[in-house]
């Protein structure tokens, strides 16, 4: 209770008191303290030396209330605790001081000891130095001995390796020893070892080579083999060669027998699978062996990759050349044009697989050669298609020919197609065939085909190949073969049926007007032809077609004219005109001529338009005839009655000729019926004229000619463009006959008319 009643100090004074108490405790004297000591003689001063607790307590009990006592007590407790703590710390510090001092001493002692130890140690090491050197030397000798032992054991070991076929170990062992042996080879014992090793290694190499040569081993074995051999200083070139020759036999062997009968796709498949893939394998392993392996030691200096690469290129090239020649031969055998997709697919596969080589062997010419083969094949294909088209054209012409020949023997007209039908079917056939060919050829440029984006297939193939080589050539071929019909038939007497000529002429004309531009537009659209090189313009082709059409039509006219001419000529030449009887009838030949002309008219009318005529009246036949014959009678026959004035007729005839246009007999005709018929009639009548001029006539001969000419006049005028032409020529014929007549006394016009109308 007493402590608890310690009165609490007011703060600043209390703290100062604590301080001073501490100072006091530690003997720190300050000037001010003397006075304080003097002042604290008071026994009640708790901090004074003269403190008397009894007094103090009493004093407190006396002076203070309970509350103050309580406060005082708590304050006292605090102070007491603090003081206790201080007392304790002081004790500890004092103790530590002592300890440090002790430690210092011990440390000194220790250092003294250490110095002694160091001294000793130096001493010991000094003594051990010699022994250490000796030990090192001993261990060196030991290794040397081991090496020597290795060396001496080497031959045996190698032999063992050889027996066990542990070639790699043997080689590495030998490699380790090789230098040493080489170095000490002047010593006989080493020499012996070296020789032994040499022999063994030789043997080993032999075995390796054998293994290498046998080739039955796997690629891994092989590469190991090669590696070992390379380490054995085997010349790399030789190895390359051997490797390649081995590879050569292995890659080509299965491929050397191209079996016929397989289709091209199968063939190419086989080729790709067997040849190309094995070639790729070879290339890959070769590159791994010789080219891409890390360079080490003296091997690096030999520049093997370069050499090996060169060899590989040569190897691949030769092999590829053989392969290509095979492929090309096979492609050339591909003659059938029925299915192009197979070939295209085959070529595509071929081309695609060769790209693998280009990846493996970047500088190789093989892929480009392959592309060339594809290009060649495509070219060849176009040619084949062209010839197929040509054959087709010929075949269809033969069909047309047969169809044309049929009606003569056939019974009903309905069964055989008419000319226009034949024409449409022929032209459709050709067009369809051409389209299908274009579709087939188009496969070459399909998007999924690898080679279709090569520049050739983008440009030249489309423009030069398909457009020029196929389409244009075919059109030209049609024109040309048509022209040939004109030439061959002319000399050999019309082996071509005239109707075919007419048909072809119309075909060519149709081509000129529409078909050519249609076909070319179709081609251009399908193939997106970009004309880098100059191509045949449509107009040139059209001109050619028109020329051919013209030529054919001219030839048709010529042939038909010739047929009629021949009839007329025979009829004139074979008859004895001097001793003929008085005409009673029109000769059958003339009727035949008119009939034939009519049928020609029908034939031409089927294919060609009517054309223009010079205007004439509907009753032209009769009216013109009378004028014609009366005028002729006046002019032509004047000489026979008045021989004294022969001049007039000739003069008039000359004047007539002077003012009439010259008639070109075999002149080009226009593309219409009238012009064609005019041409035929001109030719016929001109022949008639010339034949008449070569004969001599009697009176009745002349009269017969008169009758015949009148008959012709009656029927032929309707076919020609200008009836005056017929008049003129018939006039000439009768005139010439009159000149060639021994007894020119013409028949009465009325009688002639009666005979003709009766006939």
């Amino acid at each position: 209770m007493s402590s608890a009643t310690t009165p609490p100090d007011s703060d600043p004074s209390q703290r100062r008191r604590v301080h001073s108490m501490l100072k006091h405790y530690y003997g720190l004297n300050e000037e001010g303290k003397v006075t304080e000591q003097a002042e604290s003689l008071d026994p009640c001063d708790i901090n004074g030396p003269h403190f008397d607790p009894e007094v103090y307590l009493n004093k407190l009990r006396m002076e203070c209330s309970l509350g103050e006592l309580m406060d005082h007590e708590s304050c006292m407790v605090k102070q007491i605790r603090f003081i206790n703590f201080i007392c304790l710390s002081t004790d500890t510090i004092r103790k530590m001081k002592n300890d440090f001092k002790k430690m210092e001493d011990e440390m000194d002692c220790l250092s003294a000891n250490m110095a002694a130890i160091t001294e000793f140690s130096a001493h010991i090491s000094g003594t051990l130095q010699d022994q250490h050197a000796q030990i090192t030397k001993l261990s060196g000798v030991h290794t040397l001995l081991r090496k020597l032992q290795f060396l001496f054991e080497l031959p045996a070991r190698l032999n063992k390796c050889l027996e066990l076929q542990a070639y790699a170990q043997a080689v590495s062992a030998h490699r380790r020893a090789r230098c040493v042996l080489q170095q000490y080879s002047h010593m006989p014992s080493f020499r012996g070892i070296q020789d032994d090793c040499h022999v063994i290694m030789e043997q080993l190499a032999q075995q390796l080579r054998q293994k290498f040569r046998d080739g039955g081993s796997s690629a891994k074995d092989l590469s190991e083999c090669v590696e070992l051999l390379l380490q054995l200083d085997e010349p790399a070139e030789e190895l390359c060669d051997k490797f390649l020759s081995h590879a050569h036999s292995s890659t080509t062997n299965p491929f050397l027998s191209p079996t016929a009968g397989t289709d091209i796709l199968e063939f190419i498949d086989r080729g790709c699978n067997e040849f190309v893939s094995s070639l790729c394998l070879v290339i890959a392993s070769y590159q791994e062996l010789f080219i891409n392996r890390p360079q080490e030691g003296e091997l690096a200096s030999k520049n093997i990759p370069e050499m090996a690469n060169g060899k590989l290129h040569v190897f691949v090239d030769t092999l590829a050349a053989r392969y290509f020649s095979l492929v090309e031969r096979r492609i050339q055998e591909e003659k059938g044009v029925s299915d192009n997709s197979l070939l295209v697919r085959a070529l595509d596969r071929f081309h695609r697989r060769l790209q693998a080589i280009s990846k493996l062997l970047p500088g190789s010419a093989v892929p480009s050669q392959g592309t060339e083969i594809v290009v060649r094949a495509a070219r060849e294909r176009i040619k084949q298609y062209l010839s197929a088209l040509q054959t087709f054209y010929h075949d269809s012409l033969t069909d047309v020919r047969q169809a044309l020949a049929a009606p003569r023997g056939a019974t009903s007209k309905d069964a055989t197609p008419s000319l226009p039908e034949l024409l449409t079917s022929l032209s459709n056939f050709i067009l369809n065939q051409l389209k299908s060919v274009l579709a087939s050829v188009h496969l070459f440029t399909a998007k999924d085909i690898t080679f279709s984006n090569k520049p050739y297939f983008k440009g030249e193939f489309c423009s030069q190949g398909v457009r020029e080589g196929l389409v244009v050539s075919f059109i030209k071929f049609i024109c040309q073969s048509s022209r040939q019909y004109c030439e061959s038939a002319g000399d050999r007497g019309g082996s071509t049926p005239p109707a075919l000529l007419l048909l072809l002429s119309r075909l060519c004309l149709d081509y000129e007007t529409s078909t050519i531009s249609y076909i070319l537009t179709l081609t251009d659209e399908q193939f997106l032809v970009q004309h880098h090189t100059p191509v045949t313009p449509v107009t040139a082709l059209c001109a050619e077609a028109r020329e051919a059409a013209q030529k054919l039509l001219n030839h048709y006219v010529k042939v038909q004219g010739l047929i009629i001419s021949q009839m007329l000529r025979k009829s004139v030449e074979t008859r004895d005109w001097v001793n003929t009887i008085e005409p009673r009838n029109v000769r059958a030949v003339m009727k035949r001529v008119v009939e034939d002309t009519t049928s020609i008219d029908v034939q031409v009318g089927l294919l060609y338009e009517e054309g223009v005529r010079k205007a004439h009246s509907s009753d032209s036949s009769k009216r013109t005839f009378s004028v014609y014959s009366s005028s002729r009678q006046q002019i032509r026959y004047a000489p026979s009655y008045t021989p004294s004035a022969p001049m007039d007729t000739n003069l008039l005839s000359n004047i007539h000729k002077l003012f009439s246009e010259r008639i070109d007999i075999f002149s080009p005709v226009e593309f219409n019926k009238v012009s064609v018929l005019t041409g035929i009639i001109k030719i016929s009548l001109k022949t008639f004229l010339e034949c008449v001029r070569l004969r001599t006539f009697g009176r009745y001969g002349l009269q017969q000619i008169q009758v015949d000419c009148h008959y012709l006049q009656m029927y032929l005028w309707r076919f020609v463009s200008d009836e005056n032409l017929v008049h003129f020529l018939l006039d000439e014929i009768v005139g010439s006959a009159a000149h060639r007549c021994l007894d020119p006394s013409p028949m009465e016009q009325s009688v002639i008319e009666v005979i003709c109308e009766r006939g």
Partner: protein, 436 residues
């Protein structure tokens, strides 16, 4: 004006009045002249006689000085004539003399190579037999015969008068000998041995080749005959005696075939079947190339053959628009070729490539100065091409005969059925090109 070719004459004629050029046509009567002047201003032309047709034309082969052509007329009603056409090169004048040929109408005429007064004709004569045995109607037969004639010596001296006079009083040909062909049928043509002595003749009668030897200018002997074998009625239409091989070869035409004959053995040596698509009308041998032959026919073509390779013609021309009746090589420059056709045209072609002078005329180096030599070289750089030189359209009727002049190699005549004879010149530019 003497050496001017036709084109220049055209120019002159157009410049001058009609009167000035009338001297060239002095033989033509006024009416005819009117007609002719209108259409013929390019060349010298003459009408034989208004009422005569004509097919037969020949140059007078033995005459080397004067430019002279012989024309035979065809008339059934009047006496036929042989017109001797002289062309006066100096004055550009045509003179005409007429001889009577009363045997019949003349189909073919040919002059002797040795004697310029001697000629042969093939003529047809119609024989009227009105005998009782025959039918009541007049039965007649036409047969073509051949004969050798001599011109009367006086024709040249006094016959340069006007045509009217000559027609009034023409002289008659003197018959030397009759080539009797009654056994063999009608004669198509008579050929003289080229460059011969005028003693040997060949006549082609129907399907026989008859070789004649003239003796003493009058008598005759038939040496040998060759007969054309074959089916049907084969008949020679024309023939040509080759001037090569020592005159031992003959070429004949029948229908579409050309045959070669060896006269020594009288056997066939080659046969070009189907030489033409239709009838072969005429043949001519290249005078300088012994195996080359030109032919023409009814297929409007002119073909050139190497008789050693008869499968294909060497060359083929198709320029005419109707039958080609006559083809003639120029005697000196065989690149010049003349053709006449019933399209009334005459075409002069320059066939350099198959001529004996394919590189132009060869000139001796000595004759050339340096200057000329360089010109020659220039010419060598551009060789002449085969080409049509000119197409002559003066005729109004079919041209059945064309002929080069013997005396002047640059001159030729053509004859049309209406009796018009036209004389033309090779264009001077071409002439100089060939010569230089």
């Amino acid at each position: 004006m003497g050496s001017k070719h036709t084109n220049e004459l055209t120019y002159d004629a157009q410049q001058c009045s009609p009167g000035s050029s009338s001297q060239a046509f002095s033989v033509v009567n006024v009416l005819c002249f009117l007609v002719f002047w209108l259409c013929i201003i390019n060349a010298w032309a003459v009408v034989l006689s208004a009422c005569f047709q004509a097919r037969a034309l020949t140059a007078q082969t033995a005459e080397t000085d004067a430019i002279r052509f012989l024309v035979g007329t065809q008339s059934l009603k009047f006496d036929n004539q042989i017109h001797i056409i002289d062309f006066d090169d100096e004055n550009n004048m045509i003179n005409k003399s007429v001889l009577l040929h009363d045997a019949g109408e003349i189909w073919h005429i040919s002059g002797s190579p040795a004697d310029k007064a001697v000629l042969t004709t093939c003529y047809s004569k119609s024989e009227f037999c009105v005998c009782v045995s025959c039918r009541p109607a007049s039965e007649s037969r036409v047969l073509t015969c051949a004969a050798v004639w001599r011109m009367p010596p006086e024709w040249e001296s006094g016959n340069h008068e006007s045509p009217d006079d000559s027609s009034n009083n023409p002289q008659t040909l003197e018959l030397l000998c009759h080539l009797d062909n009654t056994a063999h049928g009608s004669v198509a043509c008579v050929l003289w041995e080229p460059m011969g002595d005028g003693k040997r003749l060949i006549s082609l009668a129907e399907n026989h080749v008859l070789l004649w030897d003239l003796q003493e200018s009058s008598t005759k002997a038939k040496v040998s005959t060759a007969t054309l074998e074959g089916k049907g009625q084969l008949k020679f239409t024309t023939g040509k005696w080759s001037p090569h091989h020592n005159s031992t070869q003959l070429a004949t035409a029948n229908d579409t075939a050309i045959r070669g004959w060896d006269l020594r053995s009288m056997s066939q040596i080659y046969c070009i079947e189907n030489a033409h698509g239709q009838l072969v009308r005429d043949l001519d041998f290249n005078p300088n190339k012994q195996y080359y032959l030109a032919s023409c026919g009814d297929d409007c073509k002119v073909k050139f053959w190497d008789v050693r390779h008869i499968n294909e013609p060497v060359k083929c021309l198709e320029e005419h628009s109707h039958w080609v009746w006559s083809v003639r090589y120029n005697h000196s420059h065989d690149q010049l070729l003349l053709t006449g056709s019933s399209d009334s045209r005459v075409i002069l072609s320059n066939m350099v490539s198959i001529s004996s002078e394919p590189f132009g005329h060869l000139v001796d180096d000595d004759d050339l100065s340096d200057n000329e030599e360089s010109q020659q070289e220039d010419k060598g750089k551009e060789p002449l091409q085969d080409s049509i030189i000119a197409t002559y359209e003066e005729h109004e009727d079919s041209v059945y005969a064309v002929e080069w002049s013997v005396a002047d190699p640059w001159l030729f005549a053509s004859l049309s059925y209406d009796g018009r004879l036209v004389i033309n010149r090779v264009p001077r530019a071409l002439k100089y090109r060939i010569l230089l």
